[in-house]
């Protein structure tokens, strides 16, 4: 079963207080668009680690890997977890 909806739901609940995620595209740059800030990135890391039961290496916690739903999916899949 796809776990990707979890991620989208988490981002909406945590960072978009009015819950309106109509324009939350999978490739939207969450950092450049101001949706999440640096502390938000750390919260996102904690969510990813708990949800997918992985520990990210310090080098992996790079905004490039966490800046969009697509990027996070790629990161999680690189750990051998299938999201499809």
């Amino acid at each position: 079963m796809s776990k990707l909806p979890d991620l989208k739901q988490y981002i909406t609940e945590e960072f978009i207080p009015d819950g309106n995620n109509d324009h939350l595209a999978d490739d939207l740059d969450l950092i450049a668009s101001g949706v999440i800030d640096s502390l938000g990135v750390l919260k996102l890391v904690a969510f990813i680690e708990n949800t997918y039961d992985i520990t990210l290496e310090p080098e992996e916690i790079d905004p490039e890997n966490l800046k969009s739903i697509d990027a996070v999916s790629k990161l999680v899949e690189s750990r051998g977890i299938s999201l499809a």
Binding site: H23, S33, G34, P58, D62
Partner: protein, 518 residues
């Protein structure tokens, strides 16, 4: 006599210790010899376009070894380095380029297109010196250059070395002009006080357009030490940072306090030992005593330094204590005593000198004081009697033990995540949005980031989504000034008797709402 400039030591240092590493980032490093050679190459290119002893040359580069090379190259060409945050909104970049009359920039290939956008019409008049991946340089000269009238000049230490942009009280960023003398006095004192040597490995956490970087680059290099750069993308990654301190055997750390709090909270700080870390400097905002005590348990061989200053004055007070002080670390942490070359006075609201324990505004007189703000003469000297003293807008008090204690800010400027923010600037940006009728931005204290920014907005709720609002802010404000919370209401906001948005009332409204939730 040889004039002492911010970069004068480069050549002798390269001769004395050619193979010592001057700057390192990830797996790349550059020796003092390499820094000397590469910065000389840039200087040769830049020098073609330098008109006077204070020509400003822009830097549009992410934090990197190349950026450090560019700083020295620009200074060695006899010009002034103006570092820009490549993540800044285009309007802000344009403001800097225009105000500093920049027609020469140092950049890297991946930044050229964004730079072109920021330059707009000026692109055809601008010379670009591009540092390629293989360290070679490509010159892209202006297609229609502004005629260059070159005069002979010699850079003195009263000439400008850099212009650093910081949040202004009117909401428009202000360019703080610092001379070579500002930098060398501060660096000499720092090398002496923190006993920096060629054995040291100093972290460079702050961005290069931030005043903390003066210590990380110039003070460290003046001592012949190695500067270890934290790449832009990793500065908010506490696990990376704790690992870096441990694996690189960092000896000197400097950052804003909120980063240290991140290390404690999210950095898995207990995973490593830090026996080599001997100096921990934090500046820019308050660190709680509770967090200072926690840091002291991990950084047990270090001396900790609570530093007070501003971009305008550079640092002027420090409170230093060994980690071994443990439970005896004072609460709250004072800002300590003035640097040896700093004079100060504390003035009450009535304009009288404040007594011991009495609150008043801090005025600072220091040789490291800026020359002024770019294109703005009226920057200091509230009255003749205080001539030469900088009005800090900080309320402090003198303690009986000789230390000074910070109490509060006297204006709308505040710190969040260590960044100086003016809420007026946020109000102005939000007010410019088509459907927003009224706005009131304020801050509430936050344990992790110092201050949390909250914007109350009056607009028709269904016309404005939160996502759109955040995106709008991110486009027009620096990333650190994007409010953390928005409250949208269709009701008019409360007003003061003078008709302004009543922010005190808004604070109260938010407090009540939070009580309801919890």
């Amino acid at each position: 006599m040889k004039i002492d400039l911010a970069h004068s030591f480069i050549e002798p240092m390269a001769a004395n210790q050619p193979n010592v590493i001057a700057v390192k980032m990830k797996d790349n490093q550059l020796s003092y010899q390499g820094l000397n050679q590469r910065s000389a190459e840039i200087a040769t290119q830049v020098a073609q376009f330098v008109k006077t002893s204070e020509t400003c040359v822009g830097m549009f580069i992410e934090k990197s070894i190349d950026a450090v090379v560019a700083i020295y190259g620009i200074l060695r060409s006899g010009s002034v380095y103006v570092p820009m945050d490549i993540k800044n909104p285009v309007e802000r970049l344009r403001h800097i380029i225009k105000q500093c009359e920049i027609d020469t920039l140092v950049t890297t290939p991946n930044n050229v297109s964004k730079l072109d956008e920021a330059l707009g019409e000026r692109a055809s008049q601008t010379n670009l010196i591009v540092i390629n991946d293989d360290a070679s340089l490509t010159l892209i000269p202006a297609s229609s250059p502004i005629p260059l009238e070159k005069k002979g000049f010699r850079v003195e230490n009263q000439n400008l070395a850099t212009v650093l942009y910081t949040s202004g009280s009117t909401g428009v960023p202000k360019g703080v002009m610092l001379t070579h003398n500002c930098l060398t006095r501060f660096c000499d004192w720092s090398v002496d006080y923190f006993k920096l040597t060629a054995e040291d490995k100093c972290i460079s956490h702050a961005p290069l357009h931030f005043d903390l970087s003066i210590f990380d680059i110039f003070a460290a290099h003046r001592a012949g030490a190695t500067t270890v750069l934290v790449p832009d993308g990793m500065s908010g990654n506490p696990r990376y940072l704790t690992k870096l301190i441990a694996t690189e055997s960092i000896t000197v750390w400097q950052s804003v306090p909120s980063v240290l709090v991140l290390l404690l909270k999210y950095g898995a700080i207990e995973n490593y030992q830090y026996p080599n870390l001997r100096q921990v400097l934090f500046a820019g905002e308050k660190l709680s005593t509770e967090n200072a005590k926690k840091l002291a348990t991990h950084f047990s061989n270090a001396t900790l330094h609570n530093i007070y200053g501003s971009t305008e004055t550079n640092n002027s007070f420090v409170f230093s204590f060994p980690a071994s002080l443990g439970d005896d670390i004072p609460d709250p942490l004072p800002i300590g005593k003035a640097y040896s070359y700093v004079d100060y006075m504390i003035v009450t609201l009535e304009g009288e000198p404040a007594g011991i324990g009495e609150e008043g505004e801090l005025y600072v007189k220091t040789p490291t004081l800026m020359r002024g703000y770019r294109n703005n003469k009226a920057y200091l000297y509230e009255s003749d009697a205080r001539y030469g003293y900088f009005k800090t807008n900080d309320i402090v008090k003198q303690l009986p033990d000789g230390n000074v204690q910070f109490c509060a800010r006297a204006d709308d400027v505040l710190k969040s995540n260590g960044y100086r923010i003016n809420v007026t600037e946020i109000d102005t940006v939000l007010q410019s949005h088509d459907v927003i009728r009224e706005v009131g931005t304020f801050a509430v204290p936050d344990d992790e980031i110092g201050n949390r920014l909250i914007a109350y907005i009056c607009a028709d709720e269904d016309t404005l989504s939160m996502l759109e609002l955040k995106t709008y802010c991110a486009k027009h404000l620096p990333h650190y000034a994007v409010p953390h919370e928005f409250e949208i209401t269709s009701e008019p906001l409360p007003k003061t008797s003078s008709g302004k948005v009543n922010k005190q009332q808004l604070k109260k409204m938010r407090q009540e709402k939070h009580v309801e939730i919890t």
